[in-house]
């Protein structure tokens, strides 16, 4: 056993830290906000951040940091561990690090895409030139994705798509959809679905905004009315989409912005050491100390699953249990951090960003709202526990 990073990994961490400190615009800390584990307060989906985000991605692309986990023949460094280090550092600073293209589209194409598709898409993704949104959920297909009703029927060399997607994060600032649609209505639910790439500019595709409870436009509804795409945009084999999607879920888990938890804990510790309440420093209050100690312990466990998942992936293992635990604990930690922070701050916790007396730049009130979404998005905690039990522990399915 060895819990130390290699010299090379340590040097890489330093390189990323130096880079991010130099690149982030002044006042970034005041502007940016992301509560880890949630899906709502994510500035990368806000239209006014788009330009900065696009520029940042191109810079990261030019350093080769958008495809760290990919094999070397496709420009990567074949190191999930490095990817994990990169995400840890970047998320600590609230900096752009990964998106749907780099964490789901790229790895899936690498695994199941045709040579032609790899040549067409991987370089663009690695350069940070293209943005994707995830077209999975529908009004009647949430946890049960295999009930997807959006249909794509073949017509000559094309597919014609009709249907509706929802909770489409960032569709309004993206270039392409990574879409799940039914290509065989006669097959069993799981067996008639395909993954495909759709250009957002295709006629018949309409995007409508949804404001989430944080007041941020992150989600959309997207409607498909006779949207025509070339068949060569089907990913891998037709009707295998659902299985590809399940495999891709594993890649997504390592993208967790885990460094943001570290940042929040640090800021809270600093806050209680500087703040006097009812005649005594908050940091001397035993219940406050207990809460912060608990947060530190739970975060250490999250890091355990984080590094272990990355390490297993580098050993060529797709770790169902570890990566599921990572997602589950991460989203629940988002909630327990928000709860603990609220309780530590007392009445100050509810103050919103911009209020005169707001502590910690208003991150806690926003985080408290956003943390509701963590155990819902990208597989509810209930669905994930079910996956762990059946696919991980071998318990019988219902």
């Amino acid at each position: 056993m060895d819990f130390e990073f290699t010299q090379q990994e340590t040097a890489f961490r330093k390189e990323v830290e130096d880079f991010v400190k130099q690149e982030l615009p002044p006042g970034w800390d005041e502007k940016i906000f992301r509560w880890p584990g949630g899906y709502g307060a994510t500035p990368m989906f806000e239209a006014n951040f788009k330009e900065f985000w696009d520029q940042s991605f191109r810079k990261l692309g030019s350093k080769g940091w958008l495809c760290l986990g990919w094999p070397t023949e496709y420009g990567g460094m074949a190191s999930t561990m490095k990817q994990a280090i990169f995400n840890d550092v970047m998320s600590y600073y609230g900096a752009p690090a990964a998106d749907v293209a780099t964490s789901i589209v790229g790895p899936t194409i690498l695994l199941v895409g045709s040579e032609e598709m790899k040549k067409e898409w991987l370089p663009k993704i690695a350069r940070g030139d293209v943005r994707f949104w995830l077209g999975y959920s529908e009004p009647n297909a949430g946890s049960d994705l295999s009930s997807c009703q959006t249909k794509a029927y073949e017509e000559g060399d094309d597919l014609i798509i009709n249907g509706q997607k929802i909770w489409s994060s960032g569709a309004h600032i993206a270039d392409y959809a990574w879409l799940l649609a039914r290509t065989d209505s006669t097959a069993k639910k799981h067996q008639g679905l395909s993954l495909m790439i759709v250009d957002n500019r295709t006629p018949g595709l309409t995007i409508r905004p949804i404001q989430n409870i944080c007041g941020i436009h992150s989600f959309n509804e997207v409607f498909f009315d006779d949207v025509r795409i070339p068949k060569k945009h089907i990913v891998g084999e037709i009707n295998k989409g659902f299985y590809y999607l399940m495999v891709a879920l594993q890649f997504e888990r390592i993208i967790m912005p885990i460094g943001a938890f570290r940042r929040i804990l640090e800021e809270l510790v600093k806050y209680v050491k500087e703040t006097k309440r009812d005649g005594a420093m908050l940091g001397k209050n035993s219940r406050v100390r207990d809460k912060l100690a608990t947060m530190a312990i739970e975060l250490e466990i999250l890091y355990g699953f984080y590094w272990r998942t990355a390490w297993l992936m580098d050993q060529g293992v797709a770790p169902v249990l570890e990566s599921s635990a990572l997602k589950l604990l991460g989203s629940e930690l988002g909630q327990s951090f928000a709860n603990a922070a609220m309780e530590i701050l007392g009445p100050f916790g509810q103050l919103e960003k911009g209020s005169k007396w707001v502590p910690l730049k208003g991150m806690v009130s926003l985080g408290y709202l956003d943390s509701v979404s963590g155990p819902i998005g990208a597989g509810t905690s209930e669905v994930i526990r079910g996956i762990m039990a059946t696919r991980g522990l071998g318990l019988p399915r219902i």
Partner: protein
């Protein structure tokens, strides 16, 4: 990073598992726990012959010279099979204290015998009015010519009933700083002025009261430096807490394995109960609890083995794992239903032991406070 045991450790783990399964059937374990003489001297000698007692003892004293991580691997398996006996007391509380602060003569005298399984030790620290705080240690040792005279009561001393020596943590001087003035003395358990009484506990694990009634020990029996033993006590408590964590993770794993297997077999409503989401989610939570905490355990053990300060990691592990062991056995009982609530079943053994493990060497509150201090609070 490397999350795997090395080959020697994997072999150690497998051989320990095999030995305990063969030599310690659950029937024997239940018998031993219910008797006052809670271990088998024959099996103790076999364990010594396998090199377990001397795992951490350097080769020059007849030991194996293994690492702390090796010990954690061994004890995790012992916890899995509820291996009874004064192992932790002898090897960690006794052996490691002698190794850390004994003089050459004491080491040569004690460690080879300990390695051969011929001597058993324990550390007497807690008292009726103090668990770990040196400010309140009231057992005193007063120098009278060439002897120390020890008076007072020690409580919750593990395995004292079959120990050959007590390492008594006593106050030898009143000082403004309570951490000074503490000394460790080696007391022969046969000293006529000591009285050891076994306490009845949930698990019948061998926790004792020792009354020192002006027990006299030679000055040469001081272990380490007079008045300056507290840092040793703290270091030993840290090691013991972590070894106890290893035992608890092993026990929690066993309780989980039993419950998982049962959930796959037990049929109600015409199907295995493991197909119900309520049961599935319990088991997923148990898996996360155990494996998340095992990371804390091994990271702390790796740091100790690498001689890196591990106070924060040990405190995190102990704060979390006591809780996990209790949660896992409670859910284990929930999955087994009525049958687990009987003496003939094995689940209650783990459930009983979990509370003792949680309390031993600092409970959750104690260790969370340590974590808070490590955070700079």
């Amino acid at each position: 990073m490397d999350f795997e045991l090395n080959e020697d450790q994997r072999m150690l783990k497998a051989s320990v598992h095999h030995f305990l399964e063969k030599e310690f059937p659950k029937e024997l374990i239940k018998k031993l726990y219910q008797s006052d003489d809670g271990y088998s001297s024959e099996l103790w000698r076999k364990m010594a012959a396998l090199g377990w007692m001397g795992l951490l003892v350097p080769e020059e004293y007849g030991g194996v010279g293994g690492s702390f991580l090796d010990l954690v691997v061994l004890v995790e398996e012992m916890g899995y099979n509820l291996c009874p006996g004064p192992f932790l007391s002898t090897v960690v509380l006794g052996g490691m204290t002698v190794l850390m602060s004994g003089n050459e003569e004491q080491k040569i005298d004690i460690l080879p015998k300990l390695t051969r399984g011929e001597v058993k030790l324990t550390l007497a620290l807690s008292e009726p009015n103090t668990i770990y705080d040196p400010s309140y240690i009231q057992v005193t040792a007063t120098l009278d010519k060439d002897e120390y005279v020890i008076g007072g009561t020690k409580l919750f001393v593990p395995d004292a009933n079959f120990a050959d020596y007590f390492l008594c943590v006593a106050r030898t001087e009143r000082t403004p700083n309570p951490e000074e003035g503490i000394t460790i003395l080696l007391v022969d358990a046969k000293n006529p002025r000591t009285k050891c009484t076994l306490l009845r506990t949930l698990f019948n694990s061998k926790l004792c009261e020792i009354v020192f009634n002006d027990a006299r020990v030679a000055k040469e029996n001081v272990l380490g430096t007079v008045n300056l033993a507290w840092p040793t006590v703290t270091a030993i408590m840290e090691k013991a807490a972590l070894v106890r964590c290893a035992e608890m993770i092993g026990g929690a794993q066993a309780a989980f394995d039993m419950a998982l297997q049962y959930a796959k077999q037990r049929v109600q409503f015409d199907r295995p109960i493991g197909s119900f989401q309520a049961i599935q989610h319990h088991l997923a939570n148990m898996w996360i609890d155990i494996n998340g905490s095992r990371f804390l355990l091994y990271k702390a053990a790796w740091k100790m083995s690498s001689l890196i300060r591990a106070s924060k990691e040990v405190a995190m592990a102990k704060a979390r794992i006591g809780n996990v062991y209790r949660r896992v056995t409670t859910l284990g009982h929930q999955i087994f239903g009525g049958i687990g609530f009987t003496m003939e079943h094995d689940m209650h053994l783990y459930h009983r032991l979990s509370i003792e493990g949680d309390q031993a060497f600092g409970d959750q509150d104690f260790h969370r406070e340590k974590v808070a201090r490590e955070l700079g609070l």
